[in-house]
Symmetry: C2
Subunit: 366 residues, 2 copies
């Protein structure tokens, strides 16, 4: 791979800042915080090759602060279901938003977008040979190792609606020595308008010891071949969760019970379902008048059918004690086991008034 | 349309038997039971045209008792996303089963199949012009009329898994004077193996008066043009729900709360979500060792965010007091408002041991 004339040079800084994010306690893992990353072993991506048929107008908002978003007239065939692009580094998948994937606002829900990212990720990993139909590889199964998502960040500029065909482009980067970052760009498949972007971070865990695991040899080899070193597609949210004080307003919802239909193939509550629990403690007035434009989720522990969960939402006030700053509401969320009090997930959300276009003033890290 | 040499002649008998099904109390509607149906106004379907490219071997199981199912070697292109076939009477749509649509068994869940039927139905109705992007038509909006599903029946021979491409064929028939029946055949898009079939029944309701409504003129005109008269694709389950007695074993789950993420564009709990509640009261041993091969759902009342629901499952014993007859378990289910006790839904399920192929001995009505 060549770096070419990059608008934004990949550097080690972003990777190291990323590593500062503490995932030592995530999912109850007993891990040492990774200290180094071998950046030389992961390639630098040629951004110009990312969308070879796309004009500079489209590439621009992907790399720099975009305050004047335009929707280029690129037509991507509706039936372009899936393919590899950019020297097989980027995986592209189209989806049609289905009627049952939209919510009361008649737009795709946050869960829907998270599901589509998860699906694209899974197909991409399968295409690489990282996983098989059982979401594992032979060596992983033998060593009793599994993938675990530790963090997800997502920014949504515009929610698609029923019948819209969206395109997700994804590629993988390193996350420390033994983790990966999936980068996602969501756009309208017909107009190429960028609708959102996201990053998910995952590590390998030994199912038995619950400790962080090294990549098995076969995965390590594929990592060196397929991973590309790019700055995060979403600026890292490294802010620690505030303690609740006088400038916050708390809302608690107790007694949340996992349903059978929440369980995924791992017999655990699927990580996307946690969003539904977060929303349970968000006040109705926010749900009805605002929509999420930025969400960060940090996963701490798995949740099974037998757990009882409580959801806490704290609305963050600004210095003047007002909850809406420039019309935007900031919240932090906590999911806990109701009996033991152990943290399952922490999350932060930013909400904009519904039907107001995002200011698209959220920079890509450069 | 011509009737051709039908293997099974459509007759008025099935329609009239269908009308005997009482939906007078469904969804709290104040309705008169329909008494007549103008069969002459709905055409007879040429079954041979149903799958014009399919051999007789495939057509056979669609019309007659199939005890020797074969999987014909018909290749349907994966990318055949959607199109009308059979003189525009049948709508065909392909779907790829996504990773988040499979459950702990690693096969598509019942909810997933119901969702896909619902989506195919909605696109078909939209293609006809019965509804627009807002799931309504101009005249329906003006007259404050909405569609309401009153019943759903589904038979599943084999559950697809992640990455499988399934094809759904659907067509519409009359259901009394002012209702419709959607017929669905689910098959493997590559092999044409039939995986399941379903019927859903819907009527029109005035949102304000909650009474059954006549079809508006524009819908009536389309009905005469597009509806085709065929026998039900799934034999009508007209058996009334048994009173629970000594030969039943009851399991109750109380305190089920609708989540925000359960609500659809109508601000009501989506009818597919009810299945999740049904499963909550099904004993774990059944969920772990059996899978649904036949389900009938009758919808009585809408459910909103503020309701508290209880789910009751009664396992039906045979005459010898055994719960599993020839390895098959029969259950009946009841969803009720916990406070008022009003019925929300009644359902009946038949479960076969997991991983045992369906005997496919369930006849199509002929």
């Amino acid at each position: 791979m060549t770096s070419g004339k990059l608008r934004s040079k990949p550097s080690t800084i972003d990777i190291h800042r990323m590593i500062k994010t503490k995932y030592a306690s995530c999912w109850g893992l007993q891990v040492k915080t990774p200290t180094k990353v071998n950046v030389a072993k992961v390639g630098a991506m040629n951004w110009r090759k990312l969308f070879p048929t796309v004009t500079t107008n489209l590439l621009k908002p992907m790399m720099i602060l975009d305050r004047e978003k335009k929707a280029p007239k690129l037509v991507i065939p509706d039936l372009d279901l899936r393919r590899m692009v950019n020297d097989d580094n980027i995986f592209r998948q189209n989806f049609c938003i289905r009627s049952y994937e939209i919510g009361p606002d008649r737009t795709a829900t946050v869960e829907t977008l998270m599901n589509l990212f998860q699906e694209t990720n899974a197909i991409h990993l399968k295409t690489f040979g990282f996983i098989d139909e059982d979401f594992s590889s032979a060596e992983m199964s033998e060593k009793n190792i599994t993938w675990v998502m530790v963090k997800m960040q997502m920014i949504v500029d515009r929610y698609p609606t029923w019948g819209d065909i969206v395109q997700i482009n994804t590629w993988k980067s390193a996350y420390g020595k033994n983790g990966g970052r999936s980068n996602f760009i969501l756009c309208d498949a017909k107009t190429s308008e960028i609708l959102g972007r996201a990053s998910s971070f995952w590590v390998m865990m030994n199912r038995k010891t619950r400790k962080l695991s090294k990549f098995p040899n076969e995965i390590q080899a594929k990592k060196e071949k397929y991973f590309v070193n790019t700055p995060p597609i979403v600026e890292q949210d490294t802010v620690t969760w505030s303690k609740r004080d006088a400038t916050t307003e708390d809302h608690i919802c107790k007694g949340l019970l996992p349903r059978w239909s929440d369980l995924d193939f791992n017999q655990h509550v699927n990580n996307v379902k946690y969003i539904g629990w977060i929303l349970e403690s968000v006040p109705k007035t926010i749900l009805e008048n605002y929509e999420i434009d930025n969400i960060t989720l940090e996963y701490y522990r798995e949740c099974t059918k037998d757990n009882v969960v409580q959801s806490v939402t704290s609305i963050l006030a600004n210095h003047n004690g007002e909850i809406a700053d420039d019309g935007v509401v900031h919240c932090q969320h906590l999911l806990q086991f109701e009996i033991s009090g152990g943290d399952i997930m922490k999350a932060r959300t930013r909400w904009r008034p519904k039907y107001r276009k995002s200011e698209a003033a959220r920079a890509f890290v450069n």
